[in-house]
């Protein structure tokens, strides 16, 4: 494989250095944690795809193909490592996901096609998550237990104990299906809402503890407000102490550390059937949303660039291969957008649809909402 950084062959140590390159590294390390090269490259590729999709999404919001963008550039490392470890499926034997609106990386890693994201961003009727009704990133996927994402901050933390309660009960009756957990995620600013404490309180009723994996991605800002001005300077995870909830802080920008932390937290929730609070320190590379311009913030560490450097330094990959992956990801995102923009928009006939599920005990709306009640 050609290498632009290859040393000239006449250096004294050239022979030795070529020798180490032939023995491919088997693991990528970060502190006490490590990850196989094979897994690291999978994570890296999914991070690249997520970044390509987010950057194309921001472009759509500026080009008129979409109106509003919000997402998670800067959270790719943590989100991809999470998505790859989810027990994916439908029903209480599998994990429930209570997400917020910065989680494209989780779902791309789980296998969601990019076009499922761009259809929502472009408000198409083909958007399976919302028929063009909701902001981008507001996913709803019953086959993967991804319950509908809402813009209302932190309400997902009030719901997670409910799915976890059903999962715990299901596992007690079905010992072979006793590892499903409820994963709930939000930002650090949202922890100011009472629902964050509701989740901890409802998950720790004595003898009735619940398998809730509480995740907080801490980018240190709520829209424009610096966390340090509105929250005690003690870590978010300290809030778990009075509930006796096990907790950990991890570097969410480091995939090796994040993968291991998620693995530890998940194993605890799955086996102990109790809650865990994991705080991940992450970057916010394009601000809050398109409403604040979505300009690139060059001051925060870029987890993608950092991991790329780490993999190249470890000789797990080289720059041409990186470029090829980036080109593939960009082409994939471009193709999704091109296809999306050919697809139909919702019409006035679609306004009422999906308000109600069909009901055998409703005299007015047996099938769905049809406008104000009428005379028969």
């Amino acid at each position: 494989m050609p290498d632009a950084n290859e040393d000239p062959p006449d250096l004294e140590d050239a022979l030795l250095r070529r020798g180490t390159r032939t023995a491919a590294p088997s693991v990528i390390r970060s502190g006490r944690d490590s990850m196989t090269v094979e897994l690291a490259l999978t994570v890296f590729r999914q991070m690249l795809r997520t970044r390509a999709l987010e950057e194309r999404s921001i472009k759509m919001s500026k080009s008129g193909e979409a109106y509003f963008w919000i997402g998670g550039p800067g959270e790719e490392a943590f989100n991809v490592c999470l998505g790859l470890q989810v027990h994916k499926g439908r029903g209480p034997a599998y994990d429930y996901l209570h997400l917020h609106y910065r989680n494209a990386g989780i779902l791309l890693a789980m296998g969601m096609p990019m076009i499922d994201h761009t259809r929502q961003l472009a408000m198409r009727k083909t958007d399976a998550h919302s028929w063009g009704r909701n902001f981008v990133g507001h996913y709803a996927i019953p086959d993967w237990n991804v319950v509908p994402v809402t813009s209302v901050i932190e309400v997902q933390y009030a719901m997670a104990p409910g799915t976890a309660l059903v999962q715990k009960r299901h596992g007690l009756k079905n010992p072979n299906e006793n590892e499903g957990i409820s994963i709930v995620i939000g930002g650090e600013a949202g922890t100011a809402e009472g629902d964050f404490d509701s989740c901890m309180n409802w998950s720790t009723r004595p003898g009735r503890e619940l398998p809730v994996l509480m995740l907080v991605t801490n980018n240190k800002f709520g829209i424009s407000t610096d966390l340090d001005t509105v929250h005690t300077h003690r870590p978010i995870v300290d809030r778990a102490e009075p509930y006796g909830i096990r907790h950990e802080i991890t570097d969410g920008n480091d995939p090796v550390a994040a993968w291991a932390a998620i693995d530890r937290a998940m194993r605890y929730c799955r086996r102990e059937r109790k809650p865990f609070l994991l705080e991940a320190l992450v970057s916010r590379l394009h601000g809050h949303s398109s409403s604040s311009g979505a300009q690139r913030n060059w001051n925060d560490l870029d987890p993608l660039a950092a991991f790329e450097q780490k993999l190249i330094d470890a000789r797990a990959i080289d720059t041409p291969a990186v470029q090829a992956l980036k080109d593939d990801a960009k082409a994939e995102a471009d193709a999704a957008v091109v296809q999306t923009m050919t697809e139909p928009e919702p019409t006035r006939e679609d306004v009422y649809t999906h308000t109600y599920a069909p009901s055998a005990v409703d005299s007015v709306y047996p099938l769905d909402y049809t406008g104000l009640p009428r005379a028969r």
Binding site: P148, A158, M159, S182
Partner: protein, 352 residues
Amino acid sequence: MASIAQAVRMALHYGETHLGVTDVFGEDVGPPLGGVFTATQGLKTAWNTPLDERGIMGTAMGIAYAGGRPVCEIQFCDYAFNVLDLFKVAGNQRWAGAGTFALPMVVMTPNGAGIRGSLYHSHSFESWASRLAGWKVVMPSNALDAYGLMLAAIKDPNPVLVLLPKALMRAKDTRLIPGEPADPEELSRMIDAPIGDRSNWEPQWPEVGDYTVNIGSAVLVREGTAGTVISYGRPLPLCAQAADELARDHGRTFDVIDLRSIFPYDWDMLSKSVLKTGRVLIVNEDTEVTNFGEHLLRRVIDEHFYDLVTRPRTLLGKHIPGIGMNQNYETNSVPQLGDVRAALWDLATEAA
């Protein structure tokens, strides 16, 4: 002959034994108390929650998302205001999620004044609730309807809010729920928990049967020609009584309609009655700005303006910050029997 509280209890028992109800929960809903109005005594799936309405609503949503059938209680509707956004989310999730998830959940909560409850045990919630698109909202005025509407709420795969008129919770019906023993004292011995230590008590449930009042179906409780009276919940018996008195004393008869469902409401029945009488009075105890009755008034005006022989009108609770503890506050701010009777008389006698 059951009370509304007993009827709700029997409906929930039927729900957990026949309709797949998995959880009945809320503050003081489980043993030993079984609900502050005793509506959940003896139920096998009833449990107590932290004092946290947001947790109650959120957990109900989670249980429903995961395939359970929850019935949760907000202890008094006065304490539902801090979960309005969760009501909104539960109501819009199906529409917002393009029908991907159903949310079969029931919330029940006591509603309105009449128990000397002061400011925070006297609110009415139906006008707020009528703005929660995606929800269905019902309010019985008697025990049999409470049973039938609760079964409908459980069977319906959408979020349903059951508002229970506080002041009528112990009011006995003259009719029997299918399977209910005819002797009310026998029913009480079977399903009312004893006073004092009840740790070894178990209810002896009667073999109650299926009886469903469809959502969106009103009922004509009095029939007449002098006017149409539309009400529900606590003031409904007052409307019926006032109509009986005016029929007896003055020969004026009224259509008295128990709406039973706030949304969807039975426009078909309202419309036909208005066409017949040309005179309309809407009665409820919620505050008058902005009141669900005003929406009905708007529809009457929009669709029956030229069918009316006199101005359509409302008799509603006064727009004040709360119900005061001294009884003089309540009697002068919430429609009373005398107010209803006078309003009916005016409705019937105003020159066309």
